[in-house]
């Protein structure tokens, strides 16, 4: 799982959880891979992601080197910044560990790079039957 994916995950579906974001990241195995740099991709992704969540996640696993704690001004033209973001978003792969709901503490294990986000029916809100038949 890449940190970019982590950035869009939420445990909001859990009963009693209102935001469920960002999920706390605990990594026991991390793999750094090479991914082709595409400046346009990173530029377009920056407004979509939650930057502070990305920074915190990177920091929590010790991969925040070179990454400023806020988005650089005029980032579209800041190649150094874009490359640092590229690296953290796409090249840091979590192989195992877990994701933790910030509100309920429910843990979602990550195995062989795949987070298991499956929930039991008793953990989520019941499906609304109100409109009936």
């Amino acid at each position: 799982m890449k940190l970019l994916t982590h950035n869009v995950l939420s445990s909001k579906c859990l009963k009693g959880v209102s935001v469920g974001y960002p999920l706390r990241l605990n990594a026991t195995d991390i793999k750094v891979v090479d991914v082709d740099y595409n400046s346009e991709f990173v530029q377009r992704m920056i407004p979509k992601i939650n930057y502070s969540a990305l920074y915190d996640a990177a920091q929590s696993i010790g991969h925040h080197n070179g990454l400023p704690d806020t988005v650089a001004e005029d980032y579209e033209h800041n190649e150094e910044f874009l490359k640092a973001v590229h690296h953290v978003l796409l090249e840091v792969d979590i192989v195992s560990g877990d994701l933790e709901c910030p509100e309920s503490g429910r843990k979602f294990p990550i195995t062989r790079g795949i987070p298991n986000m499956l929930v039991n029916e008793n953990e989520v809100n019941e499906i609304n039957d109100s409109n009936g038949y």
Binding site: T5, E40, Q43, N128, D129
Partner: protein
């Protein structure tokens, strides 16, 4: 029609002024062109439903002049329409009746006119031809006249302890007593009188008529005796008490039985004397049936050329049923299901159980084989993938092995994330280098508004209630950004639109032979997204109905590569024993996957229930229904 001719026949002058006024009023009211110029359509200007005129009256009035094609009775109107098969009959009827005969039950002279067409009415009897509700089969001449006599003879109706007088009919029970207060039977108290031996022929006769797969031995028999004018209110045989199918044998008189579905659609079904009606699947679970209390029935004339009235005689019906051992019912007609109505919470649990056992567990078991068969992407879906631009986010819900990843346009870089409920399939997808999660479409683990695009191919048909299907679409709507688009595919119940067989049906060996041309044009790798049986093609079955009666399964089993007979089915997946792994190479294991196959427009209707989205397009694509959605900006 020349007024002078009519006057010559003694039609009073005032009838013509009445006709003129009426034509003016009715043309304006019904927005149909009317006049004295003969056509095959006649309007009765001065009587209709609002004045107590019935369809039967209209048929009685016009039947002597020729075959009646249709009668259109309009609610709350003082006029009505009918159609003959041809214009000359209409002309004769007009000449004989207009201003000469009286309106039935009155002394007023009948005022007629011709119409350019019939108004559109929803009355199913207004037009021909008709089809019965899905799953209903009527076997005519199921028994001989002698057998009919035998069956009637052993019944005794006048003894006080034989038969119960209900409000409108007499009834006798065999095997088990049907308790009218609770609409059930007491399984622990079988009656002394078992199923009469006169009914023993039933099993072999059914086999002979091609229904051996049912292996039907009735445990309960209800005999009803209806006199002309009698009826039975619309009802459904208690889902949790009786199994599928239910058999109705009609003796001594023909009858019309009315079937109704939730939309209020009524289909009258003609049950001729000595016929056996087999009610199964949707007709058994999803429709009520009843008999109107009246003296006559409106039926088709011989050769289906028109309508006529048939007087009822004394009718005796034998209803054969089996008790349902597991008291649960998993049908998708909860509004008629005692078991599901009892507790909606339980309904959800039942749905969850069905999905767990017949979807999730099965996909884990067959994932390797399944993944091998998932390789050819569908053109329309690839087309959708190509509409996204660099830096956009595309989520594939139910991504399987990720066959739609990397199908974006050249030089475009997307964030593609897959999610699948099967851990094995998610792993397949991950091995191919894609970002993937293990998760479920009803509880998407994403924050809201992040996706520019969502793919959801062949997923929602695995959800077992309408509510759950809607929730899945709600979740898609939630994760889409404003203006974001989603493409959803589900399996269609109808596999032949405009006579063109879907790929799924063409892959049936038998159909391939029959439609050689069509199949040679079909590339061998053309694989239907949703019919995954391609590698393990089961033998084609010649059964007239695809219902496989298996006591251990809660739903009917679909016969692969045939038309669907039910909306909620189990579809077999045959897994051949793998080399080396299995002791026997030919050993086959069959898994059953649950499917809700969609009616036309059904998917669209679910989408319309979800706020904030707009259906841009609905398509029928090779046996699937697809919708393209947009989240409102």
């Amino acid at each position: 029609m020349d007024a002078n001719d009519s006057r010559a026949r003694g039609v009073p002058r005032k009838v013509f002024s009445k006709q003129r006024k009426a034509v003016q009023y009715i043309s304006a009211d019904s927005k149909l062109a009317l006049g004295a110029e003969p056509t095959k359509y006649i309007v009765i200007c001065n009587s209709g439903l609002a004045l107590g005129l019935t369809q039967e009256d209209v048929i009685t009035l016009f039947a002597p002049y020729g075959a009646i094609e249709a009668v259109a009775m309009l609610p709350d109107k003082t006029y009505c329409f009918m159609a003959f098969n041809d214009e000359s009959n209409a002309r004769t009827a007009y000449e004989s009746l207009h201003g000469i005969a009286t309106v039935p039950h009155t002394k007023h002279l009948l005022v007629l006119a011709f119409a350019a067409e019939l108004p559109k009415v929803t009355d199913p009897w207004a037009t021909l031809p008709r089809e019965g509700p899905p799953g209903l089969i009527v076997l005519e001449e199921f028994i001989t006249v002698e057998e009919e006599d035998n069956l009637v003879k052993f019944l005794v109706w006048d003894s006080p302890d034989q038969g119960t007088q209900l409000k409108q009919r007499q009834v006798q029970h065999f095997g088990y007593e049907f308790r009218y207060g609770t609409n059930d039977v007491d399984e622990k108290c079988p009656l002394k009188q078992g199923i009469p031996e006169q009914c023993d022929f039933l099993h072999s006769r059914l086999n002979k008529r091609g229904f051996s797969q049912w292996n039907f031995f009735p445990e309960q028999l209800t005999v009803n005796r209806y006199l002309p004018g009698h009826g039975i209110p619309p009802h459904v045989d208690t889902h949790s008490v009786f199994d599928d199918p239910i058999l109705i044998l009609s003796l001594h008189s023909d009858i019309v039985m009315d079937f109704r579905d939730i939309s209020g659609r009524k289909i009258p079904v003609f049950l001729p004397r000595r016929s056996l009606a087999l009610m199964s699947g949707e007709s058994r679970y999803g429709w009520t049936h009843g008999i109107a209390s009246r003296m006559h029935d409106v039926v088709c004339t011989d050769g289906d050329k028109g309508l006529t009235l048939l007087p009822r005689g004394e009718r005796i019906s034998f209803t054969f049923r089996n008790l349902r051992r597991k008291k649960e019912c998993f049908c998708s007609y909860p509004w008629l299901c005692d078991n599901q109505k009892q507790n909606t919470f339980r309904q959800q649990l039942t749905a969850i159980e069905v999905e767990k056992q017949f979807v999730r567990k099965v996909y884990e078991e067959i994932s390797d084989h399944f993944s091998e068969t998932r390789h050819t992407p569908w053109p329309n879906i690839v087309e959708f993938c190509k509409t996204f631009k660099t830096g956009q986010i595309l989520i594939d819900i139910g991504c399987g092995n990720g066959k739609y990843f990397g199908k974006h346009a050249e030089n475009v870089s997307l964030l593609e994330i897959g999610i699948d409920a099967s851990a094995h399939l998610a792993e397949e997808c991950s091995k191919r280098g894609f970002e993937v999660l293990n998760g479920d479409c009803l509880n998407l683990p994403f924050r809201s508004g992040i996706a520019d695009g969502v793919l959801c191919i062949a997923v929602i048909h695995h959800l077992a209630t309408h509510e759950r299907r809607r929730r899945a679409i709600q979740e898609i709507a939630r994760v889409l950004c404003k203006g974001g688009r989603a493409l959803i595919y589900v399996w269609a119940r109808n596999q032949q639109v405009h006579q063109e067989m879907s790929t799924y049906l063409k892959q049936n060996r038998k159909n391939r032979h029959a439609h050689g041309k069509a199949s040679t044009a079909l590339p061998s790798q053309n694989e239907n997204e949703c019919h995954e049986g391609a590698l393990a093609l089961p033998e084609y079955s010649d059964k007239t109905d695809s219902y496989d009666h298996r006591g251990d399964l809660p739903l009917p089993v679909h016969v692969n590569r045939t038309d669907f007979k039910h909306s909620d089915v189990l579809v077999p997946w045959k897994l051949k024993g793998r080399n080396k792994q299995a002791n026997n190479d030919n050993q086959q294991q069959t898994y059953f996957r649950y499917y809700h196959v969609f009616e036309a427009d059904e998917l669209k209707r679910v989408c319309i229930e979800v706020p904030q989205i707009q259906v841009l397009e609905t398509k029928y694509d090779q046996g699937n229904w697809s919708v393209l959605l947009r989240k409102l900006p």
